[in-house]
């Protein structure tokens, strides 16, 4: 059996060959939508999180998945005020170190503090139920946590009071270190250090202030024999190299950075990489075809060595389930990849004219395939159609339209077919992707013949 889950991810992390690219949908508050509750109810209940992630696993067939995606957990414990929103993770609205608190008044969160017990409980339960799927434990990266604690003043303090920033970053690193250890002990396989705010600084500032605190956290993860990922979002292209130098096992980026750029640097440094499905314009607002094309674009650009397919960041709550399923089926099916690849080049084509295609006294069956000669599901579908139609003699006209040919694609467009293979009976997409049992196919043909005689 081919690799999947953590086993497959491990191969990607180690840059070993894989037969399929691993897929890690970053389900955060989207899990709340899957179980029908609001974000606050979800993110404050281990039962809801377990149910939401369970549903996501069932729907999206992932190799790995985050337990919780919420970068406010540590900040909340350390005194940042949160405001909750029904369909998003909470927002930090106060920065204690900018409002009178001092660094020595803050202490490292313990496993009983704030919402940490909820996350740990959810992790333990998911670990038990899904022993093979990689569970990602997320921690707030030190620079982003420093921003939560001090606000934008941090940027100026880099120059005006560098010693203070070093102390603050050392504290934030210890917070991350402790949180990572707790998540590992509860059963996480991968710890993601999520530090989006580093996208705002230059490589020199990164090296001066961020590299050492973050490297320390990755070292802890390595000592525990677990894997690490460094998530960043936004325009962080300038920092990819210094991020790699912090020695994570993986770098994960969003659509703001070209995937091939990250690929080149990461692989050169011997580090795996992941990303960067477009979150809003495609996954949230696009349709299934957009999602498939986007995923295929990532797969083709990234190649199979050391790549993990993932969204750019936390999935928006209302991301349509079908779009994520479309990505999932594409990842797991090379035929769909091939078909989508062919469609990629078809956008400027016009649909084929259907004039003269239909017969007054015959049932017309069109089978849209990749190519029944090379695609196994297509082959079985053609065989099924031929067998079922055999009993009806010349009452049935069967055509295969291979979308490897331009006219096949144009016919697919004319018939409004979106999946391959599909059986259309008299122009109606009757069986999509699945090969119907002979009896069902015969019954459908019979119905249309009766309608002709009608």
């Amino acid at each position: 059996m081919s690799d999947k889950g953590m086993q497959l991810l491990e191969k990607a992390f180690r840059l070993e060959g894989v037969n399929r690219v691993p897929w890690v949908p970053f389900v955060g508050v989207h899990g709340a939508r899957l179980v029908g509750v609001d974000a606050k109810t979800y993110l404050t209940s281990s039962a809801h999180i377990v149910e939401g992630i369970g549903k996501a696993i069932e729907l999206y067939n992932p190799d790995g998945i985050p337990v919780v995606f919420d970068l406010q957990i540590e900040a909340e414990i350390l005194g940042c005020k949160l405001v909750w929103n029904d369909d998003n993770p909470p927002a930090v609205v106060s920065h204690p170190l900018a409002e009178g608190a001092t660094l020595d008044q803050l202490s490292i969160p313990e496993e009983t503090d704030g919402r940490i017990p909820i996350v740990l409980e959810a992790t333990r339960r998911l670990r038990e139920t899904y022993p093979d799927i990689a569970l990602y434990g997320l921690i707030t990266g030190p620079f982003t946590l420093a921003l939560h604690l001090l606000g934008t003043e941090v940027f100026m303090k880099l120059f005006e009071d560098p010693e203070y920033v070093h102390d603050l970053m050392a504290f934030c690193s210890k917070v991350g270190d402790k949180h990572a250890q707790l998540l590992i002990d509860a059963g996480c396989d991968v710890i993601a250090v999520v530090d989006p705010m580093t996208s705002q600084i230059d490589p020199e500032s990164f090296k001066t202030f961020v590299s050492s605190p973050v490297t320390q956290i990755f070292e802890t993860i390595r000592k525990n024999k677990k894997y690490s990922s460094f998530f960043v979002c936004g325009h962080a292209q300038q920092n990819i190299e210094v991020m790699c130098d912090c020695l994570p096992d993986n770098i994960s980026i969003d659509e703001n950075i070209p995937l091939d750029y990250v690929k080149d640097i990461a692989l050169q440094k011997g580090i795996s990489f992941g990303g960067n499905l477009k979150l809003t314009s495609v996954l949230l607002l696009g349709d299934e075809l957009d999602a498939r094309k986007e995923a295929l674009g990532c797969l083709d650009l990234a190649g199979k060595e050391g790549f993990i397919l993932a969204p750019g960041c936390d999935l928006p709550m209302d991301t349509p389930v079908e779009n994520l399923q479309a990505v999932s089926t594409l990842v797991h099916d090379e035929y769909i990849q091939e078909a989508t690849r062919n469609m990629e080049h078809s956008s400027s084509l016009q649909p084929l004219s259907l004039d003269g295609h239909w017969h007054a006294d015959k049932v017309v069956i069109d089978v849209i395939t990749l190519d029944s000669g090379s695609c196994a599901p297509c082959q079985y579908m053609m065989e099924a159609v031929n067998k079922a139609a055999a009993g009806f003699g010349d009452k049935v006209v069967i055509s295969e339209h291979k979308i490897k040919d331009i006219n096949g694609i144009r016919m697919m467009m004319a018939l409004g077919v979106k999946n391959v293979p599909t059986i259309c009976i008299n122009g109606k997409a009757s069986f999509i992707s699945q090969i119907p049992p002979r009896s069902e196919l015969e019954a459908s043909i019979m119905k249309d013949i009766q309608a002709l005689n009608g």
């Binding site: 921003l147 940027f155 120059f159 705002q200 500032s205 300038q238 809003t280 928006p316």
Partner: protein, 222 residues
């Protein structure tokens, strides 16, 4: 160009605030934007010249370096801070009409959204580029924007949103402002926002970074 104005421009470009400021290291122990601006005005340099021949060229240079990825947010913020310090000396002259700010920018994070970091960065950089900035804070309704516009006719509005869900409010607020004051220019930004979205909702500018907003304003006001 006046040597003093050139020095002021350098202070802005490199983020040298005042004598005491340790940054940038190569200017340690030297006077900064604060002292030099005061000196220029004392010596009788017209306030408008201090603004347009000293401060603004410095800010333009740092803006250009930002666009070329030679400097990043922290450096630009230091420049903006140096600029703000210098502008304090010019404030009485703005009030008297002896110097004019480039224009007014009204900014806020849209209704339902409480994120302020991106909005604050934009506000600081726009202010540092010589504009009057009215920061309405977070969770701002269309009515509040419209009231601020009534008090500041001709101002450009900046809308920020970090959440995919509040992008919708960005659309509503844009529509309401345009309905009430069709001439108003609206710039939008924030993590989930894009050029396509900007076109879709009928806003006038999308910028991926604060410098983009400054450039948009410069086009409109110069």
């Amino acid at each position: 160009m006046n040597e003093l104005l050139e020095k002021i421009s350098d202070c802005i470009e490199f983020g040298k605030i005042n004598l005491a400021s340790p940054y940038p290291p190569q200017m340690k122990g030297l006077e900064g934007a604060d002292e030099l601006t005061a000196k220029a005005l004392q010596e009788g340099t017209p306030p408008q010249d201090v603004l347009t021949k000293g401060l603004m060229p410095g800010m333009e240079k740092v803006g250009r370096k930002f666009r070329e990825n030679k400097v990043f947010v922290p450096q630009v913020l230091m420049s903006a801070k140096a600029m703000s310090t210098a502008l304090l000396h010019l404030k009485p002259h703005f009030l008297s009409g002896a110097a004019k700010q480039k224009g007014t920018f009204i900014i806020g994070t849209v209704l339902g959204d409480l994120h302020d970091i991106g909005k604050n960065l934009v506000a600081m950089m726009v202010e540092g580029s010589g504009y009057k900035v009215i920061d309405l804070g977070t969770d701002v309704s269309a009515e509040t924007f419209i009231e601020a516009l009534e008090e500041n006719p001709g101002a450009v509005v900046g809308l920020s949103a970090l959440l995919t869900t509040t992008m919708v409010n960005m659309q509503k607020i844009t529509n309401e402002i345009k309905a009430a004051m069709p001439e108003t220019l609206i710039a939008i930004g924030g993590a989930p926002v894009s050029e396509e979205f900007c076109e879709k909702i009928g806003a006038d500018n999308y910028s991926a970074d604060p410098q983009g907003v400054v450039e948009f304003l410069n086009q409109k006001f110069l």
